[in-house]
Amino acid sequence: MNVFLLFPNRDADPKAPLPWQAEALEQDLGLPQVYEAMAQGDKFLHAAARRVLLDSLEDVDLIRYRQAVLQDCLAHPDVVREIYRIPIEAQEKKREQWLGIFSRSPQGILSSAVDLLAMFVGLLRRLKGIADAQAGAFASEGFRRFFAMLQAELDEAYFEEVETHLRTLKFRQGVLLSAELGPGNEGTRYTLRKPRRTPRPILKQIFGRTPSCGFTIPPRDTYGSKALGEIKDRGLNEVANAVAQAADHIDGFLKLLQAELAFYVGALNLAERIAALGMPLAFPDPAPAETRRFTASGLYDLGLALAKNAAVVGNDIQANAKNLVIITGANQGGKTTFLRSAGLAQLMMQAGLFVPAQALEANLARGVFTHFKREEDAEMESGKFDEELGRMDAIADYLRAHSLVLFNESFAATNEREGSEIARQIVDALLEGRVKVFFVTHFYTFAHSYYAASQGEALFLRAERLPDGRRTFKMIPAEPLQTSFGEDLYRQIFKAG
């Protein structure tokens, strides 16, 4: 039995390590805001959101598979939340009813495992009921397969078989063991046997046909009772293990269901938040990693919108066939915000989520990396350039063709000539290696060198400044300018003060 709601052919691995650059992505792209909106305070949802958002898919079909499942979820949020209740309830009941396998003796393990299993079976019946009622209403391959599997595997005959086991394993008619003579004529290979069903009375059934011999342990012989208990334990060892493992496996199935659905439940929460903000969301159109696509309308920084709890400005951008996007322009003009919105949309798309935009078409990236100026490093000025290059060195260990690197004012901890030269050498090398680059910079020398040499494979955006000096926080295609409007900002701030 498989869940397969995140991948069409395999389980999600909740223990898979996060990508190496996870921390930098979270810090630079505002991911924690998104996790929070998906989790609504629930730790488990938070962890699931984090895991799936950081584990980028690199296959268009996988993304479409998830998009379809997610569209089903958006169409039937109540059903999805009802299913999600089932594994939650399993964990709650385990806690509340002290169900669990804590014993060390086979008899103890067996009896607690039988109780645990009985509880799970009740929940499986409910899950099967939902499948029966809802199977027809869902359209995605993922959900259709999931419901069909439940209906096929958990039919009434199966539930009867399970319940028969649970009943007989209470041993109301005693325990029947087979045994053989090992070395020293010591009993060995004690194995629990299932008595044959016959219409005759139970004692006759067990002893009627063959000669037998027996004894009863006197009430005061506690040592004898203990010795008998040990024989029973040896006989029940295998069956106790089988039942306890069965309980573990069902527990594992329910936990996996919880883990995979948690991502979609988080997505439902997020969609509701976005709707409440009055912002759009769209299912993006992914293109293979070898292509160069990035065309968006109304692309906005979701992290910023969630943090401000308000609508924010979106951008339209046409960067198809571009390997390099260089963003220049006024300080405080929305360059970083734009860069974040592009990176975040890329990650959300590659997680199978909708994106914060009216529409987005983008090629997949084989790894998204961020190299952002780090404000907190200011105090150790002398080593800052070294630190920047060190981070780039580390990133380079993980780069592949068709990776995406987002630079934000990188290599600026030195003078413009040096910084430009370094940045130029790095970016040239990346482009030759077919890495896609977004670069926010105020280095005119650097930006202009690409503009002068560009054969059309680079896009140059500029944070818009109106003739009266106001900023629109829109990016417009434009040649890099020599100044970066710091004077404006200075004036604006000092005039206000």
Binding site: D11, A179, Y190, I206, S212, A246
Partner: protein, 510 residues
């Protein structure tokens, strides 16, 4: 016909095992460490007497060398090892019988002992019949065992034991437990319940989960409940148990003395071969020494076995050395920097001769050695002695005893015996001792700081511990045959500290 032994040729005298005591030089040569280490875990075989008993007859040594060489064959050694494991089980089962209470429990373990014994002997006989053997001892044992396993006494023992075991194996009984009541009966093909449960829940199986099986506490024991169940089984299946009783009565004492003697004696070799196996793995050579009757002893790439054992276990490299005497040469005088391996060299020469006299392979690529009638060692004791005069006096008394007992066939090893006296005393005493050694014509190793002793005659060979000229602080532990000048090391150290004559002249400012 005498019983074949792997330790002593048919006509050789065996040591009185009760009288065996550790030879006095064991501590000086660190052979005590070697023997303790290689006997660890083999106490029950009582092998110590054999390791305390060097041979003095070259033929007896070669008898053992041949056995050791045959045992170099991995397949044969593996067979012997398997045999030994089974024989240990036989012994354990038989000792256990005295502590058991229920007759069919006792009879059952007796049967087990017989089965293991016949299995052990049969497999050994088969293995020897197939093996490529050269040692007289193994050839004699092969013949003995071939007769033994085909004799009626053995085949009857084996066949009856297997027949009874097969009858007991065929018994399958069912126990029904309801409360405190136990019923035992024959089984009727009732299905395995655990397997059915597993089948039912197989569809949920994914990955590995915890193993909930409680480790079965296997004791060789039977409580009164198990005994009562067994009594019931006896009632349900009386015949096999009657056969078991009859079997035990027919074969009260089944072990053959030659088989048990081999089981013990072959451990002498296995203990040693096991001890040296990791050294060989580390690339250290071992060889079968040639026993010579002149005194031109020699060895290539040899080393101190005790030290090598320690170094290899710590993953550190072992330095090997060569030595050789020619013609009239009798004495190695070893000089040179301290901590340079001089004592190790002296021990190596002693160990080699002792191990050769045990008939065992020795450390080295090749070796020509004598069988000394005695080995004497005089090592400076580390412990402080309040009275230096008393110490020197004791030492001289011991030396006098040594020279009173030593013969031209002895090996005498002296290690810094006069280090704690004055230079003049040491030189004087050293000369005296050397002259006695030379007069005796015995083989000797004399470790000393007195370079003068190395030039006392053509019978003396000077060996010097060395340093690496590039890195004088590094010890090489190489001992080479070279004139003793006593200055090479001092010069190297001075250079390292820029204190040679020329260096110092240049550093002193005008």
């Amino acid at each position: 016909m005498p019983s074949p032994s792997v330790l002593f040729p048919p006509d050789a005298a065996r040591p009185d095992e009760d009288q065996a005591a550790e030879p006095p030089f064991f501590g000086d040569l660190n052979l005590d460490q070697v023997v303790d280490a290689l006997l660890a875990g083999r106490k029950a075989y009582r092998l110590r007497p054999f390791f305390y008993h060097p041979l003095h007859d070259a033929a007896a040594v070669r008898y053992r060398q041949a056995v050791a060489q045959d045992l170099e064959n991995d397949a044969l050694r593996e067979h012997v090892h398997t045999f030994a494991t089974r024989m240990r089980q036989v012994g354990r089962y038989l000792r256990m019988l005295n502590d058991l209470e229920y007759p069919y429990h006792i009879a059952g373990w007796f049967l087990e002992a017989v089965l293991r014994y016949t299995e052990a002997v049969q497999a050994l006989a088969d293995a020897l019949a197939e093996a490529d053997l050269h040692a007289a001892a193994f050839l004699a044992l092969r013949d003995y065992l071939a007769d033994y396993v085909h004799a009626e006494a053995f085949t009857a023992l084996r066949d009856e034991a297997q027949a009874v075991r097969a009858e007991l194996d065929a018994i399958r009984y069912c126990i029904h437990i309801l409360g405190d009541t136990v019923r035992v009966r024959r089984c009727e093909d009732e299905p395995d319940h655990a397997a059915e449960v597993e089948r039912t829940f197989a569809k949920f199986r994914r990955g590995a989960v915890k193993d909930y099986r409680t480790p079965v506490y296997v004791r060789s024991g039977m409580n009164h409940i198990e005994a009562q169940i067994l009594d019931c089984v006896v009632k349900l299946y009386p015949e096999p148990f009657a056969h078991l009783d009859a079997f035990r009565t027919r074969h009260p004492d089944f072990r053959d003395p030659v088989v048990t003697a081999f089981d013990r004696e072959v451990q002498f070799y296995l203990a040693y071969l096991e001890f040296i196996a990791p050294l060989r793995e580390a690339g250290l050579p071992f060889c079968t020494p040639e026993i010579i009757t002149d005194k031109a002893i020699a060895a290539r790439e040899t080393y101190d076995l005790a030290l090598a054992h320690k170094l290899v276990s710590e993953g550190r490299p072992v330095v090997t050395n060569d030595f050789a005497l020619h013609g009239k040469e009798r004495i190695f005088v070893v000089t040179g920097p301290n901590q340079g391996g001089k004592t190790t060299f002296a021990r190596t020469v002693g160990q080699l001769h002792y191990l050769a006299a045990l008939g065992l392979p020795v450390p080295g690529r090749e070796a020509r050695l004598v069988l000394p009638d005695r080995i004497f060692t005089h090592f400076e004791r580390a412990e402080e002695v309040a009275n230096l005069r008393g110490k020197l006096e004791d030492e001289l008394i011991r030396l006098r005893e040594t020279f009173g007992q030593a013969t031209p066939q002895s090996l005498i090893i002296l290690n810094e015996v006069f280090a704690s006296t004055t230079f003049q005393d040491a030189l004087f005493l050293g000369r005296q001792v050397m002259e006695r050694l030379l007069a005796l014509d015995a083989l000797g190793v004399f470790v000393t700081f007195l370079a003068e002793l190395s030039t006392l005659g053509p019978q003396v060979v000077s060996m010097v511990s060395t340093v690496d000229p590039e890195n004088p602080a590094e010890r090489t532990y190489k001992i080479v045959r070279r004139r003793a000048d006593g200055l090479a090391y001092a010069h190297a150290l001075a250079e390292k500290h820029h204190l040679t004559h020329d260096q110092l002249v240049a550093r002193v400012r005008p």
